[in-house]
Symmetry: C2
Subunit: 392 residues, 2 copies
C-alpha cells in the first residue's frame, strides 16, 4: 500500500467528502491556537528586523480548514504588529500536502482569502492605526511528503501542522530477516485488527513505534534544515497520554472499525485475510516518545508540550472527570457523525483493499458500533500539542 497514493481525504463536496466532514479537525486547529499565538509572539519579538517571513502549514488537506490555519496565522501577526506598533512584514504562506491532495479546491477560495486579509487590514487603517497598510501575503502550494525536504535551506521562520503527524510515511513492516542477502519482510500478524490493539503481538507494537521514531526523526531533520535558527514550529496531532498504545484513547476508533470489518467478513462480504493483512499507516505517539525523538535529533528545544483531551466530535473537554450522559437516539446520532468524519479520512485507504461497493455498508455498521459505544462510554482522543524552537 503506497501511502503517497492513498493518503488523501475524500474529495469533492458530497455527503461523504472531507470538505463536509472536517469539524473535528477544525476544532483541533482552534485548540492549538493559544500555543501557536504564543509561539508567533515570541518569534515576532525576537525578529523585529525581518521584513519577509516564510511560513508553512504542513498537511493542509483540502476543505474549509485548508486556509484556516494560515488565516489564523496572518490574523495573529497583524494583531501583534499592531500591538508592537510596527509594520506587518511580507508573509510567504506555503500550503503543503501530498501531490494527490485536491489543491484546485483550495485555490478556488484564494481570491476570497486575499479579500478577507485586505479587509481586516483596512479596518486597522480606518481606525487610524499607523501601520494599517500591511505587507502583502503570498500563498503558494508545495506538494510532497513532509517526511523529507520540501523547502530551500533556511527559508522558513514558522512551521505549523495540525491533524497530520499521526499519519506515518508507510505501513510498518514486520521483522526483517536477511538470508543470503535477501530481505524478507514478514507481515505484522495482527489478526482481525487494522491498528494496534490489546490482541496485537508485541512485535507489532515494536515496529509501529519504530516507524514513528524513524518518520518523526526525518521530519525534524528536514525542518531543521528549512527553518532559520530561532525559527519556531507548532505541531498538534492525535496521540496518547499513557505509555500503553492499546488504551482506549489511543486506538478505539480503529478497534471499532476492525469490528465493523470483521462483521462483514463473518457474513462472507469481504475476506478475513484482507483484514489480517491490512494495517493503518497511523500512530498515536506518547509525549515520552516525542521527547525522545526530539532530543535524539538535537536541533530543536521544546518550548511547550501539552496534551489535551477532546471528545470524538472534537469538542474540548475541560474537566478531566468528564462524562456525558446521553440518551440513546442522541448517542446514535453522534455515532453517525463520528463515522462520517472518519469515513472522509480513511475511505481512500480502505477502498483498494476492501472495494468501493462495501463502503456504505461498512460505515453504516461502524456508525452503529460507535453510537453504542458513545452511549455506554465517553470516548476521547488525546491531542498532543508541541511548540518547538529551532536552536542555533
Amino acid at each position: 500500500m503506497e501511502v503517497m497514493r492513498i493518503l488523501h481525504m475524500n474529495k469533492g463536496n458530497g455527503e461523504t467528502s472531507y470538505a463536509k466532514n472536517s469539524i473535528v479537525q477544525s476544532n483541533i486547529i482552534s485548540l492549538g491556537r493559544r500555543v501557536m499565538d504564543e509561539a508567533l509572539k515570541k518569534l515576532m519579538i525576537r525578529n523585529s528586523e525581518i521584513l519577509s517571513f516564510g511560513i508553512a502549514d504542513l498537511g493542509c488537506s483540502s476543505g474549509p480548514n485548508s486556509l484556516l490555519s494560515i488565516s489564523n496565522i496572518v490574523e495573529t501577526i497583524q494583531n501583534l504588529c499592531h500591538d508592537l506598533d510596527r509594520p506587518v512584514p511580507e508573509l510567504s504562506l506555503s500550503l503543503n500536502d501530498l501531490p494527490s491532495n485536491d489543491f484546485n479546491y483550495i485555490f478556488a477560495s484564494l481570491p476570497e482569502f486575499y479579500d478577507r486579509v485586505k479587509k481586516r487590514d483596512n479596518n486597522y487603517e480606518s481606525l487610524g492605526f499607523e501601520h494599517g497598510s500591511g505587507g502583502p501575503c503570498f500563498v503558494s502550494a508545495v506538494p510532497g511528503s513532509f517526511y523529507g525536504r520540501l523547502f530551500p535551506r533556511r527559508s522558513l521562520h514558522f512551521v505549523h501542522s495540525s491533524s497530520s503527524l499521526h499519519w506515518l510515511s508507510q505501513v510498518p513492516c514486520g521483522e526483517v530477516n536477511k538470508k543470503d542477502g535477501v530481505v524478507i519482510t514478514a507481515d505484522l500478524d495482527n489478526r482481525g485488527k487494522i491498528y494496534l490493539s490489546k490482541t496485537s503481538p508485541k512485535s507489532a507494537h515494536k515496529v509501529y513505534a519504530l516507524q514513528f521514531q524513524t518518520d518523526f526523526s526525518v521530519f525534524l531533520r528536514s525542518r531543521s534544515e528549512e527553518l532559520v535558527p530561532g525559527g519556531r514550529m507548532v505541531l498538534s496531532f492525535l496521540g496518547r497520554s499513557s505509555p500503553d498504545p492499546t488504551t482506549e484513547e489511543s486506538c478505539y476508533q480503529w478497534e471499532l472499525l476492525a469490528q465493523a470489518l470483521m462483521s462483514l467478513a463473518k457474513e462472507g462480504i469481504i475476506e478475513e485475510e484482507n483484514i489480517d493483512a491490512f494495517n493503518a499507516p497511523y500512530y498515536a505517539a506518547s509525549p515520552e516518545e516525542l521527547k525522545m525523538a526530539i532530543e535524539k535529533e538535537g536541533s530543536f528545544s521544546i518550548d511547550r508540550l501539552e496534551i489535551s483531551p477532546v471528545d470524538w466530535e472534537g469538542g474540548s473537554i475541560s474537566d478531566d472527570s468528564y462524562d456525558i450522559v446521553r440518551f440513546k437516539p442522541e448517542a446514535l446520532a453522534s455515532g453517525r457523525r463520528v463515522a462520517k468524519t472518519i469515513r472522509a479520512v480513511v475511505e481512500p485507504m480502505l477502498e483498494p483493499t476492501f472495494g468501493q461497493k462495501v463502503m456504505d455498508e461498512l460505515f453504516e455498521r461502524y456508525a452503529k458500533l460507535v453510537g453504542e459505544y458513545v452511549y455506554v462510554s465517553s470516548p476521547r482522543y488525546t491531542i498532543v500539542i508541541v511548540s518547538l524552537l529551532r536552536m542555533g
Copy 2:
C-alpha cells in the same frame, strides 16, 4: 468578462483539451531556449556564491508543457554547474498561473519529474563528475495573476514566461467619459470583429495599445520588486514585427475566427450583436512598444530582443522568404490542427458569450476557413523573445 475566470486552457485530457493540443506552445518554448540558456549562463557566472536560486515560470498552464520550462531550466543549470565545476545550487521552482488553472493535473506528474531530475544527476555521478549529487529541487505552485505581485521581495533570481504575456489583464474599455462624477465606458465599436482588424476604429487601436502598456508596466514593476538586482527574466510571446497591429501576422487568426462567428450569426445561430460586443483580452505587441514600456518602467535593461516567425503549427521558419506549397487535403488537415490548438485556448473565453452548444460547429467552420487560408497563403505568427536584466 472577468479574465481571471475565463482565461484558462481547456481542461482534462479529451480531444479538445489543451493537454492534447499544445504543440505550438511547446515549440515556442523550444524556440526561446537558446536565449534562456544564455541568460542562465550569465546569471550563474555572476552569482557563483549563491547556494539557493529562486526561479519562476509564469503562465505555466496545465498540460505536457507545464513542467517543460522548469525541466529545461534545471537541465541547463545542471550542465552549467558541471562545466563550471561547481555544485548545483538548491533550486526553488515556482509554477504560476491563474487560480482557475488545473494545478492538480501538474502535481500528478511531479513524482515523475523529480525522478527524471534525480536520474540525470545520477548520470553525472556515474560518469565520475565530482558534483554529481546536485542540490535538491523544490517545486511549488503560486496561483494568481502575474499582473500584480506574486512573490516576496527579492526572492527570485530568474523569471521565465512563454506564450502568456499576449494575454491582457482585462478586455480594454472604450473611451471613458466622466459626467457629473459618473464614469461611462463606451464599447469599442468593433463591429463584426473580436480583435483589432482593418475595420476597427482608431479608438480601438488606442485602447488596446494603452491596455498593453498599463499591464506590461505593472508586470515589470511587480517583477522588479521580486527579482534580486542582477536577476534575469526571459519572456517569449506572440507579438508583431510591424508597427501596424492589423497586418496578417498580428491578427489573422482572430480575423478568421470572427468570420466563422459571423457565418453563424448570418444563419441566426448566434446573435451578431454578441460578436460586436465581444473583444479578446489579447494584444500582439511590437518590439517598439515593448522597448517603450521597459524604458519607462526603468528597472530593467534589455540584454536581447529578438523576433522570430513560426508557422501556425508552431514550426520554426528559418528563411524569411518562406512559402510552403501545400496540396489541398494537406492544407485542410493543417487547418483542422490549427483550429484545435486555438480552440483549446479560446473556447473557455467564447463559451460564456456564445454558448457551449455552438462550439463544435464554430470550430468546424473555423477549421475550414483556416484550411482555405493555409492553402493560398503561408501564415505565420511573430514570436517576440526578450531577455532582461534587473539593474541595481
